[in-house]
């Protein structure tokens, strides 16, 4: 990153130290929340890659989140069972044999592989099918939204295969470790933190590379890129697949920390909420995305337990504020990670600045406002 201020580096360092010390500073409940929300920040970072840098708004990230979450949750359900036994909800809903795609994740290594491979592969395939035909922008956003709806509906309707509306819950062991022991929880927290830091550094490297430059070019002028002999499609497909990978990991980690995965986490509404994490933090800032995911979710947790009806008004206002007042998110307040893009029609602050400049210059006779 160019031109980072020392104060920003210092703040990042302090945040990292606090995150490492968190298990000794927070109550078990708050630590669990922190772990969950750190897991979610991987999704937000993926959105910075595709939305902020690639100009691709996906309203269906819940699908990849769910694929990661369910792949792991299916394994966790099987891990607690004896050979030949069926998960409890299958017995209740009269499913007689374990479906073949459940037996694929019987081994924990296969489950981890599925968490990594399935979302990435589906993301790449979808992105290729759509971007190949130069479909983008609002069209892409709406198609992914429909995907999220279809995915959640499928999960709910296939009660006997997916646990239906209640999802999958009640996990005991992973790789032989008891998930209910405090030491396991602590280890999982540090694994999550390590993955978030690795994701941050990896994406930083990716965005600083030549690839990152070409991705931004495909956002800002796809046709100009074509004239120069580049095809924008593969750059977008790679970005979308990487984001799907991060989101899948995010879903799996969240499932571990929350102890449940259900259609309520993967549908249309949660998928759009994911976008607001990146928007509030700053769609062009990876650190901002982490901060946004943590802030919005802690706010949601605190507000919605106290006054559930207020939260939806608050969330709605956040969406409106994020695009009208703070298009660069909170990161936009702290010096540019990227050069500030001035003067877009919707930027209320830019207009306010223009108008202030106009009124300020009025007393000087004969001088035109800029």
């Amino acid at each position: 990153m160019t031109g980072t201020l020392p104060i920003k580096q210092a703040a990042t360092g302090v945040a990292l130290i606090l995150a490492i010390a968190a298990p000794w500073l927070l109550s078990a409940y708050d630590l669990n929340l922190l772990a969950r929300f750190l897991a979610l920040s991987l999704t937000a970072m993926g959105l910075v890659l595709i939305w902020g840098e690639g100009g691709i708004l996906s309203l269906g990230q819940g699908v990849f989140f769910g694929l990661g979450g369910y792949a792991l949750a299916m394994h966790l359900k099987l891990a607690g069972l004896a050979e030949g036994e069926l998960p409890d909800f299958m017995i209740w809903s009269g499913t007689e044999a374990l479906p073949w795609w459940w037996s694929l994740v019987k081994s924990p290594f296969a489950a981890v592989a599925a968490v990594l491979v399935v979302p990435t592969a589906l993301g790449a395939l979808m992105a290729w099918a759509i971007f190949r035909r130069r479909i983008g922008g609002v069209y892409f956003a709406l198609i992914t939204q429909a995907l999220a709806l279809a995915f959640a509906t499928l999960l709910v309707s296939q009660q006997g295969l997916t646990g239906g509306f209640n999802g999958l819950t009640d996990y005991q062991t992973l790789f032989g470790f008891n998930l209910n022991l405090p030491s396991t929880t602590l280890a999982l927290y540090f694994i999550t933190l390590a993955l978030v830091v690795a994701g941050l550094l990896g994406l930083r490297w990716l965005l600083a590379s030549r690839y990152g430059k070409l991705l931004r070019a495909s956002r800002d002028g796809a046709n100009r890129m074509r004239f120069l002999g580049y095809d924008p499609t593969p750059y977008k497909v790679i970005a979308f697949a990487v984001a799907a990978l991060l989101t899948g990991m995010s879903g799996a980690l969240f499932t571990l920390h929350a102890g449940v995965v259900s259609p309520a986490l993967v549908g249309v509404v949660p998928s759009i909420e994911m976008v607001i994490w990146a928007a509030i933090g700053g769609r062009n800032s990876l650190i901002g995305a982490i901060a946004g995911a943590l802030l919005v979710n802690f706010a949601k947790d605190k507000i919605s337990t106290a006054m559930p009806e207020v939260w939806l008004y608050g969330l709605g206002a956040l969406f409106i504020a994020a695009v009208t007042i703070l298009p660069q998110g909170l990161a936009g307040l702290f010096g540019p990670d990227h050069p500030f893009r001035p003067g877009k029609a919707g930027d209320l602050f830019a207009r306010w600045r223009r108008e202030r400049a106009k009124t300020a210059s009025q007393p000087i006779a004969g001088e035109a406002a800029p």
Binding site: M126, V138, L142, L154, V323, T324
Partner: protein, 297 residues
Amino acid sequence: MDAAFLFGQLFNGFSVASLYILAALGLALSFGLMRVINMAHGEILMVGSYLAYLTILFVPGPMGIIVAMLVAFLGAGMLGGLLEVTLVSKLTSRPLDTLLATWGVSLILQQAARDLFGATGVSVTAPAWLDGGFALGPLQLPTIRLFILLLAALILGGLAALLRYTRIGLLVRAVNQDRATAAAMGVNVRQVDAFIFALGAGVAGVGGVVLALLGPVTPTVGQGYIVTAFLVVILGGLGSVVGTTLAALMIGLFMALSQIFVDVSFAQVLTLIFVILFLQFRPQGVIAVRSRALDAE
């Protein structure tokens, strides 16, 4: 599978398509004109439904539903106009941001409806003259469904006539074809935008009345239709009325006919795959408005 069942599904397809047309027309018009998608469109349907509920409380009797449609048209249209002037018009250069901001509006409207009317549904009873049905051989076609089909056809016809024969229609077509040139020729594009947005919201309001006739009115009543309405807009092409109509018919029939073989949720997935596959062959949708602009989206 017997023929009567097949025809029944076909009729269902047309019936559902007529709902999608009412829900999607406003979206398609404003999308064609401004390239923005209004995520609060579902809540405009919802507002139409609640306006119908309130109107019937004050104007009972057989003609209440007609009054309700007028009230919903005007009320939803005013709400749409307000939304356009205060928010959407400020964001037209950033379509994806418009989408997020209007999503925020939709959350606020939903919660407001929950606070005003409660989370459980209220219901609107259809007047007696919409009860019953026509027998067509072994098939029973409900009057109410026929009424909705007729209503959709009337609105489509009215809209087409408005766009074809009136001065405002001429202006709308001019802005639709080439915004910059129209503006240079003295067309007030801002007013045209606001007019179309309000008109589209009004149509959605009437759609909301129809939804109120078919089932309970809840704060999320619009959500059930809106995602499919978005698909209709994508499939239909850039804001063409004909394209929207054809796309609504295609999706309605595809859903109804695929439900012969699979359940509703699979039908939804298949419909989505159908739309993506269709766009592989015609990325510009059923009807494309030709543009010479290089970076048109």
